[in-house]
């Protein structure tokens, strides 16, 4: 049980990462690819936050009678990464909207031979 507890978080992170990776390389639809990319991204967030946790610690906000705080540094890195992540997702989605307008489809295999459509 101890062994499982020690590594469980990392295994789930790997599982999520591979799920996202699988969606990105196997899905045909570009919107679904973006969802896969986001799942991949969240797995990295989960890895960082898991590493920052200390058993028996609390959130890194000073309070009386608390001696053990979890590590605040990964929280800072991931907090900004989430906001940057949604901003870059928006750029990706707007590229998809333009692809739809130019090619009439967002399925990857359908615009393979339409290079000269625009």
């Amino acid at each position: 049980m101890n062994f499982i507890n020690d590594y469980y978080n990392y295994w789930i992170v790997v599982f999520l990462m591979m799920t996202g990776f699988y969606i990105v390389i196997s899905a045909n639809n570009l919107v679904k690819k973006i969802v896969g990319l986001n799942i991949f991204q969240t797995s990295v967030f989960m890895l960082y936050i898991s590493m920052g946790k200390i058993s028996g610690g609390t959130a890194p906000i000073v309070a009386e009678g608390v001696t053990q705080y979890s590590n605040p540094l990964p929280h800072v890195l991931i907090l900004t990464a989430i906001v940057v992540g949604v901003a870059t997702t928006a750029v990706g989605l707007s590229l998809i909207v333009r692809i739809k307008r130019a090619y009439g489809t967002v399925e990857e295999n359908e615009f393979e031979n339409k290079d000269d459509a625009i």
Partner: protein, 326 residues
Amino acid sequence: MAEFINLALLAMLALTALRVIFLKDLFAVVMLFGIYSFLSALIFVNLDAVDVAFTEASVGAGISTVLMLGTLALTGRTEKENKHSSVLPLLVVTVTGAALIYATLDMPPFGHPDNPIHQHVAPRYIEESPKEVGLPNMVTSVLASYRGFDTLGETVVVFSAAIGVISLLGFRRREENDTPKSGLKEHHVLRVVAKIIIPLIILFALYVQFHGDFGPGGGFQAGVIAAAAFILYALVFGLPLAFAVISPKFLQVMASFGVLLYAGVGLYSMSQGGQFLDYNKLAADPVAGQHYGILIIELGVGITVFAVMLSIFYAFDSQVERSNVQ
């Protein structure tokens, strides 16, 4: 107890992600992704990352979902049947996954206080930041003061993403009077509830903005929450009315103003004889200087994030309404 909650929540997260693979209905995929974000937020709370959970709940479940739904409205909601064989991707993923699982066995065990990550700079942040910066929330101290330069970079990235989206999509021109039915004005319950709830959301955003030094919160979260209030307004009352409240031009000015405010604090501290973003020089007392510096740069972050999120939403919503006209 906390371990069991962790176990259960992470298992639910894995199942949600797994389900996304097999669904062909993209509307359901996006909804599942919203659930996925809320589950992540819960896990972050359980792992003591309250600020991160706050951000994930408002950004991941709120703004991302709205943007993805806007894209689906333009590109169609079903994925076509995939003719390619999925053997090769599955093989690649299994091999990579197995290698990574093997690698995790070399990771320091979860939750131990003497892991390497807790030895380097973290003790200083935890022990000295309440005295040096004078704020109870260490995440805000590190974000805005110790790593202020990094955060300036992140704010610029968010700003450039908005430039990217606006140049790709653009806003709707103001010429047409044959506007299609915009918003959900015929739903009376929705309209009344939105009218009550929007001021509360804005008030909450202001609280998160200015209380971020003492509790979870700060400019990033506040900006997103304030943008959510206006997105709700635009969804219920229609885009033309939202443009009348805050015009896209004004948002562009706001987005650049936030970044300039942040960088301006850095330049001002240089003019006072300090380094770039050295808040100690902002006032006679270093701790008071830190307070002023963090207050102003958090405000800059909040303004930029608000303006960027709302601009991005405007750009997507303009596209949806334009396609409704055609």
